[in-house]
Amino acid sequence: MAETVTPDLLPAAAPVEEQQDKPESDLEPGFLVICWNDPVNLMDYVTHVFQVVFGWPKKKAEFHMLQVHEQGKSVLARESMEKAEHYVHQLQKYHLHATMERDE
């Protein structure tokens, strides 16, 4: 989970001024796109869907698929509300159990 929750948006080394210049929306809590485990979607299918929806390489898609399988869920992305909603729509169209949750 840490891999996706720790975003590239706010690197630890980023200068303070840079953060202050960011639009307010970037500093607000975002929304997490989460995929939950279910006993019916095939593992290869889930990996494939992650690759298609997020454009991830197979290795990263497999990592998240295994996280879903073994830990019950995986945080796939942290996004604005609109983008998170878009991803959840895409994933649910593939019948994956995906939701968006506030990153609090």
Partner: protein
């Protein structure tokens, strides 16, 4: 089922028995009730009701479109050639992605009709009512795996 890549197309060849099973399976689409999925599990979202309705509308619309596309595919002899010896299916990458969704809809719908069991492979619930759903679930999984193999080249 044998699959091969021919430039940007995926060619699936099925024998007669497989063809019959495949057609029988596709005839089940859409399978089960429209999924009642939540946009969010634990969070209260802004305009939650409208957002939830939008998701449900999008999923229902997709099912309608898929139903129509499936009918078109079956009538398109260039892509869907029913032969005396089986079936030759020529699909673009986009067709294949779409067919995967259709097959998975049948798989998930059958699982929902089974009562969404935690272990869908248990044979405890094998009855006259459950067998068609178990069959549809397993068969769609079989065809999905073949299409995935063709897409990924694994």
């Amino acid at each position: 089922m044998r699959t091969a890549r021919n430039q940007d197309k995926i060619v699936c060849q099925m024998g007669r028995r497989e063809r019959d099973l495949f057609l029988e399976l596709l005839a089940l689409y859409p399978r089960g009730p429209t999924a009642q999925r939540k946009l969010s599990k634990n969070s209260v979202l802004p305009d939650a009701e409208a957002a939830q309705r939008m998701l449900e509308d999008a999923l229902a619309e997709q099912r309608d479109q898929n139903r129509q596309l499936l009918q078109e595919l079956m009538l398109d002899l260039a892509r869907f050639k029913v032969q005396p010896t089986g079936l030759k299916l020529v699909l673009s990458q986009a067709d294949t992605e779409w067919l995967l969704q259709v097959l998975n809809d049948i798989r998930i719908g059958s699982w929902v009709l089974l009562g969404s069991p935690e272990d869908p492979h248990t044979l405890e619930g094998l009855t006259e009512e459950t067998v068609p759903n178990i069959w549809a679930m397993e068969m769609s999984g079989y065809f999905e795996m073949n299409l995935l193999r063709a897409l990924t080249g694994d």
